[in-house]
């Protein structure tokens, strides 16, 4: 449809220029992703050619493979028209002009008979000249004497027909996905010398770093595999919060892990060390340091600090804070321990009065008050009793409506005789009292 037509139909269409280069780039990306179905995937114009011969068995048959592919492409947001056929030409034609599905072995010829000429992947001029002599279907072309075709309609027509029915060879140029960089070192004989292994690992990390530098990328995950002669291979995985190719930093993370590895028994030991970057992210070449941006410098310094902390303490003990919009105080603050990929979302809860310290678990307390919602007189908590001088509240706090089961609470802000401000609440159903926080 022309743009002018679209403007007539729609009052205010959104117009974006066609970016062919971006299209083909994303198609290449999709081809690389499709290598899960077959090792041979090629980009062909506006579609993909996947050589699934022999691969369908891994998925439990062609029907299952087709259904799975359809589902997975849909999950990516693509509405794919899929066809499995004995030849590339036949699959191409049926996917675009026929009823998509599976064309069984030996049925290629019959599947093509009723399809229009454009399904043969020939030029528009050839289609035009065939139309002039009243030929509109592929079946009609096949009925013509073969010897006449090249001289009247060119060599291409016969080649395409033969390719479609499997009588001529067709080669595709599969998209090659660069394998993740791996470097390895084999020892002359097995060794249990930690020093030798450490030096070797360090050299391998440096080699890996220079490999990554050539590819203008950085590692997000490093795998180190120690092949041991008498034990199963030991594998160390180190995840990084930012892509890096700094050999010194990587070594500082690997070293403490390497020190704890069981190298095997005397006389046997480690035979081979492999260091690979299993997750690689693009990372631009950095400028000369003195010109570098202070902000990004700081980010990298921080990332390496967090990596070191995570490496020793464990990932779950290094967290970021997130403030969420929730009425329940313990849900308003969330700890996130993952990598720093996604930007942190911090909600503004507005001017609400909340204690500066919130106990992880509300602590049970005994309270004497004048009336159910009246001022609190005294508080027994943590083995001590204190007189309450000021009471503010109640503030009713309930869970969101989709969490109806959780009881409502009435919060009181009270000041004890020492001047400390505590945050108490009464569970409305059970009338039990708890201390939840303190203004410290």
């Amino acid at each position: 449809m022309a743009l002018s037509q679209a403007r007539v139909v729609l009052s205010n269409p959104r117009v974006e220029p066609h970016r062919g280069d971006r299209n083909s780039a994303s198609l290449r990306g999709l081809a690389a992703w499709s290598s899960r179905f077959s090792p041979h995937v090629a980009v062909d114009g506006d579609g993909l050619l996947i050589d699934v011969s022999g691969c369908a068995r891994a998925f439990g048959g062609e029907e299952r493979l087709l259904a799975l592919a359809k589902k997975q492409y849909a999950a990516l947001g693509f509405e794919a028209t899929l066809c499995i056929a004995p030849t590339f030409g036949c699959a191409w034609a049926v996917a675009r002009f026929g009823t998509p599905g599976i064309v069984p072995e030996g049925e290629a010829r019959r599947a093509l008979l009723d399809l229009p000429l454009a399904a043969l992947r020939i030029t528009g001029a050839a289609v035009q000249s065939l139309h002039e002599v009243g030929i509109e279907r592929i079946g009609q072309v096949m009925e013509l004497p073969r010897s006449l075709l090249p001289s009247r309609f060119g060599d291409e027509l016969l080649l395409r027909v033969d390719q479609a029915i499997g009588q001529a060879l067709e080669l595709i140029e599969p998209v090659r996905v660069a394998p993740p960089p791996v470097v390895s070192q084999v020892f002359d004989g097995p060794t249990t010398q930690w020093e030798a292994i450490a030096v070797c690992t360090r050299v391998l990390i440096e080699r890996l770093a220079s490999l990554l530098k050539e590819k203008e990328s950085g590692a997000r995950r490093i795998d180190i595999v120690l092949e041991r002669s008498d034990l199963p291979p030991e594998s160390l995985t180190i995840t990084l919060s930012m892509p890096t190719r700094d050999a010194r930093h990587l070594w500082s993370l690997v070293r403490p892990r390497l020190e704890r590895v069981n190298l095997g028994h005397e006389g046997r030991g480690v035979e081979e060390i492999r260091v690979g970057a299993s997750l690689v992210k693009p990372m631009a070449h950095e400028q000369v340091e003195s010109w570098g941006d202070r902000r990004t410098d700081h980010q990298q310094e921080l990332a390496s600090l967090l990596d070191t902390l995570r490496n020793r303490l464990g990932t779950d003990r290094v967290c970021r804070v997130q403030v969420r919009e929730s009425h329940l105080p313990e849900r308003a603050m969330v700890l996130r321990c993952g990598p720093e990929d996604e930007p942190s979302r911090t909600a503004l809860l507005g001017a609400i009065d909340r204690p500066t310290l919130l106990f992880a678990n509300a602590e049970s307390a005994a309270v004497v008050s004048l009336a159910p919602d009246g001022p609190v007189m005294s508080l027994q908590w943590r083995g001590g009793e204190s007189r309450i001088t000021t009471t503010q509240g109640p503030e009713s706090v309930g869970a969101e409506w989709w969490r109806r089961r959780e009881p409502c609470r009435s919060y009181f802000k009270v000041q004890d005789e020492h001047g400390r401000w505590l945050w108490l609440y009464r569970e409305n159903q059970t009338s039990m009292w708890f201390v939840h926080g303190i203004w410290a």
Partner: protein, 268 residues
């Protein structure tokens, strides 16, 4: 070697001062030579009286100890770290070039919604906070030391329970070389412990007439600053209910004078 001409005869105060400043310069040059950076500027707290006492603010690149409210004699008594005051100082520290804060130890993880309040400008402070769950003394000391040496860190707020003199020395050196402010929280009964901290503070709850929490902030020790008042440096700060900001009320000494005769547990 440090060298200065010792005053042989009675000399004027001005000459004394010149000698002292020459020595100070030499010490500074020596420190820089050994990698102890002294270029960190103090962190202005925004509380004018305290800033002027400290000579510009809480020193960056140094160790500061904050003693919480509680019983100084009993080790089992509950105590609470002075989160509001500390968070205020840490937030002030992040306003400069360094923007990240590290909180070491579960005890000092402040409640983030209270830190932000309704203040949009405090959002980056919370977003750039990292909470480290280090439990044992060794783990905490290691994590604090590591964080202090990172040039991206503005302030390290840490649970300092049970840190010995040797460890505080190490942390003071780490802070001096990294340039971050280290705010250590210590329980009240550790007041008698020796430490290499540059300043020591005690924060105690103060009875307030309205609903705003108040604290007495007391500067117990400050290396390199002459004591200003006879009764020590004390101030009262208050937490604004609505904005979550901590501001100075008045010097506590003055308030005490006016409220003479009232029962005051702090004098006990």
């Amino acid at each position: 070697m440090l060298s200065a001409v010792p005053p042989q005869s009675p000399v004027s105060a001005q000459a004394h001062r010149a000698v002292i400043s020459a020595l100070a310069e030499q010490i500074e040059a020596r420190q820089q030579q050994f990698g102890h950076r002294c270029d960190a500027r103090p962190i202005p707290t925004g509380w004018q009286d305290i800033d002027s006492t400290l000579g510009g603010g809480v020193a960056a690149g140094a160790l500061h100890e904050w003693f919480g409210d509680g019983d100084e004699c009993s080790r089992n008594a509950p105590w609470f770290p002075p989160m509001a005051v500390l968070a205020h100082v840490a937030h002030r520290a992040t306003l400069g070039e360094r923007q990240s804060t590290i909180w070491v130890g579960r005890r000092c993880w402040a409640y983030a919604p209270a830190l932000i309040g309704a203040d949009e400008s405090k959002r980056p402070f919370v977003e750039r906070s990292m909470l480290i769950d280090a439990t044992t003394v060794d783990e905490r000391a290691w994590a604090i030391d590591l964080a202090l040496r990172c040039p991206a860190i503005a302030a390290v707020i840490a649970d300092g329970t049970g840190l010995k003199l040797a460890i505080t020395r190490r942390l003071q050196l780490a802070a001096a070389s990294g340039g971050a402010a280290c705010l250590l929280l210590r329980p009240p009964w550790e007041l008698s412990e020796l430490s290499a901290a540059k300043t020591r503070w005690r924060v105690r709850a103060e009875c307030s007439e309205n609903t705003e929490p108040r604290w007495t902030v007391e500067l117990l020790r400050c290396k390199g600053v002459r004591p200003m008042r006879r009764e020590g440096a004390r101030w009262v700060v208050r937490l604004d209910d609505e904005t979550g900001n901590v501001s100075l009320v008045a010097a506590a000494g003055e308030r005490r004078d006016s409220a003479e005769g009232s029962p005051d547990r702090r004098t006990a």
